[in-house]
């Protein structure tokens, strides 16, 4: 009689140190080998999209803050652009520049969390604290500007809530010169560490066609080797005025589109963001930042879809207006939600430890997935 073996079902989460929030992964295991992964989501569902239907347009902004809570500025950025398009208003140039600076600072802060927690997921705890040390400086810049450290309510429809602090430009330049060497330090400590490379290279390889079929966007897509960045390919705000590279995965340590590529693309993007911030600070025009803010936001009947390049990928807002003070419908295309769909495809045949590596490299935020 042949021996019968049963597959084990292991629940990872929702209380688990490295599911990055309240995600539950149902793993089907044969020994330590993954047969299937089923993500169960919804533990952080806060009815965001339904709530917006009884809010006025400016009241929605604090809600979008709470979606991707590691990239609040960028959520507001995308929402503001969408409503402005619906209203058909132009914002002053200074506002656009401030938004870009804030957005790119937020991108660095968000990537720092991604990199730091990725190190912690793989057992290296020190890079995690180094990343948070640097993120803290960015949060202080935000705090100086608008008072918030995590949730800002800063970028409003038609403008921003406050002008920059007089010291902001100087301190941001100081931060840039402080932060550049720290990227090198992070590379020495983690990126090119032999054990780290062993753990991530050739693990969770995402081929380009699969990535496109699954609708993957952002750093995860670029790591598979395509130059697709909405900041360049579908420019919004003033991004077409800056000179920056779009880093793509080149399979330096293993295969194109493996976990190491997805990790390293974020390091490279931080450097590009620093370049954008430097240029924006140089060109920052004078002007009033609140003059274009409408007193009453009542867009005409219609619908609009805008997309921006959030730190995690393509963040889209689909807004339907019925001509009243409240939006009829706000649908968010959350990058983390779409990116999470690839888990099963990537994890099959790997080990439990690799699930952590793959999940960390996709860099999800549960607030955005569940909304």
């Amino acid at each position: 009689m042949p021996l019968k073996t049963e597959e084990m079902v292991l629940n990872m989460g929702p209380q688990h140190p490295s599911t990055h929030g309240v995600l539950r992964l149902e793993l089907q295991l044969e020994g330590e080998i993954i047969k299937a992964v089923k993500p169960h989501i919804g533990y952080l569902h806060r009815c965001f999209e339904k709530h917006t239907e009884v809010m006025t347009y400016p009241q929605v902004i604090p809600y979008v803050d709470r979606m991707d809570y590691l990239a609040s500025m960028y959520n507001e950025f995308g929402y503001a652009i969408a409503v402005e398009k619906l209203l058909g208003i132009e914002v002053p140039e200074r506002v656009d520049f401030i938004r870009v600076i804030m957005g790119e600072l937020q991108r660095i802060a968000s990537h720092l969390v991604a990199i730091g927690t990725y190190g912690a997921d793989l057992g290296a705890f020190t890079p995690f604290l180094f990343a948070f040390r640097d993120r803290e400086k960015i949060l202080s810049l935000f705090e100086m500007t608008c008072g918030g450290r995590l949730l800002y309510n800063y970028i409003w429809v038609g403008g921003v809530s406050h002008d920059l602090h007089p010291d902001f430009v100087r301190l941001t330049r100081e931060f840039i010169s402080y932060f550049r060497p720290n990227i090198k330090e992070m590379n020495e400590l983690l990126s090119f560490n032999k054990i780290f490379v062993e753990r991530t290279a050739n693990v969770g390889i995402l081929p380009l066609d699969t990535a496109i079929n699954f609708g993957i966007s952002g750093p995860n897509l670029r790591a598979s080797g395509i130059k697709w960045d909405l900041r360049r390919d579908d420019p919004y705000s003033v991004y077409n005025r800056f000179d920056f590279e779009i880093p793509i995965g080149d399979g330096r340590m293993g295969t194109v589109g493996d976990c190491w590529d997805r990790y390293f693309i974020r390091i490279l993007e931080m450097e590009e963001s620093l370049k954008i911030i430097e240029q924006a600070l140089d060109q920052l025009p004078e002007g009033d930042v609140t003059s274009a803010i409408p007193k009453r936001i009542k867009p005409p009947v219609g619908q609009v879809y805008t997309r921006v390049e959030n730190p995690r990928g393509e963040l889209g807002y689909f807004i339907i207006s019925n001509g009243s003070l409240n939006p009829f419908r706000v649908k968010v295309r959350a990058p983390s939600f779409v990116n999470l769909g690839i888990m099963d495809e990537l994890c099959r045949g790997h080990m439990i430890a690799d699930v952590i590596a793959i999940l960390g490299s996709i860099d999800i935020v549960l607030g955005e997935i569940d909304r």
Partner: protein, 357 residues
Amino acid sequence: MIYDFLLKLTGSEIAAGFIQSLLPLFVFILPFALFAVLLERKVSAHMQDRLGPMRTGYHGILQTVADIIKLVQKEDIVPTNSDKPLFNIAPVLVFTGSYAAFAAIPFSSAFIGSNIDLGLFFIVAVSGLVVAGILMAGWASNNKYTLLGAMRSAAQVISYEIPTMLVILTIVMMTGTLNLTTLSELQTGYFWNWMILGGPVAGLVKLAFIPSMFIGFVIIYISTLAEVNRTPFDIPEAESELVSGYHTEYSGMKFAMFFLAEYANMFAVSAIVAAVFFGGYQSPIGYLGNTLDILWLIPIEQFFWFTFKGVFFVFVQMWLRWTLPRLRVDQLMALCWKYLIPIAFVNLLIVGLITVL
């Protein structure tokens, strides 16, 4: 020496033996665990641009005391569906395994729990108990994570005992003794008599031994790291994968026993490395007691040197832990079976040839 002194003091062989066997526990393991936990916190904090504990006492020196008090006060939770007898025995077994190893560790020429001829063998054998305890804990908790942790741990500890034993065998072949005191006495004099620098032989043979000894040291250090489940080999208790591995379900004092055992084990393996390769309790630069002609000072100096060497290797373990990421379980096995064991074997043959010639 301690035994004779105790015998004179108590007048009873049983009492003397009993007190002597308890001495390492109270004189050394408990204070060391307190110290090591604080050291770990401070080392990690300063490596990460933090301060670490600062509130309890001057620069947080009472932090571990506070931790222990907290752990003692905690409710002792036994999961409903656990295998209760095994669940209760496991921490004791793990603690016993690591504590028993201290019996044969020579802290100085006058202070050794039991000066048996099979010292090295005894330590390695008794450490095997720890695996049984870990397996018990993992199984009895009736939790998939703990079971996975325990299975990984058993596989890891057993595989890494092989390279450790092969290196120890190399040394035994050179010196012809398993007794740790004799081994330490052999390396007397100055630091060039340490095994890492070829041992107490003279001439060209010594030079021939040095590369083999360095390789042996690296192998034994890596394997002992794996045996005590420290990063980069902390896979059994990989926090980010298996919550905290085999002791996930333990709380209160039972958890503290695992914790204590881990730190005791860290020192035990460091002590083996120090005793085998770095002259045991011998001073590298001669004794003050000899110079001043105060003979009772020598054992105290020896105790200092031994503790210093042990704590130094413990520090290196912490340093590695806060620098390196963690290997995956199959990579860990590959490292052991594909690299460490073959190299250790070749090393053994080379040393054997040199010794015969």
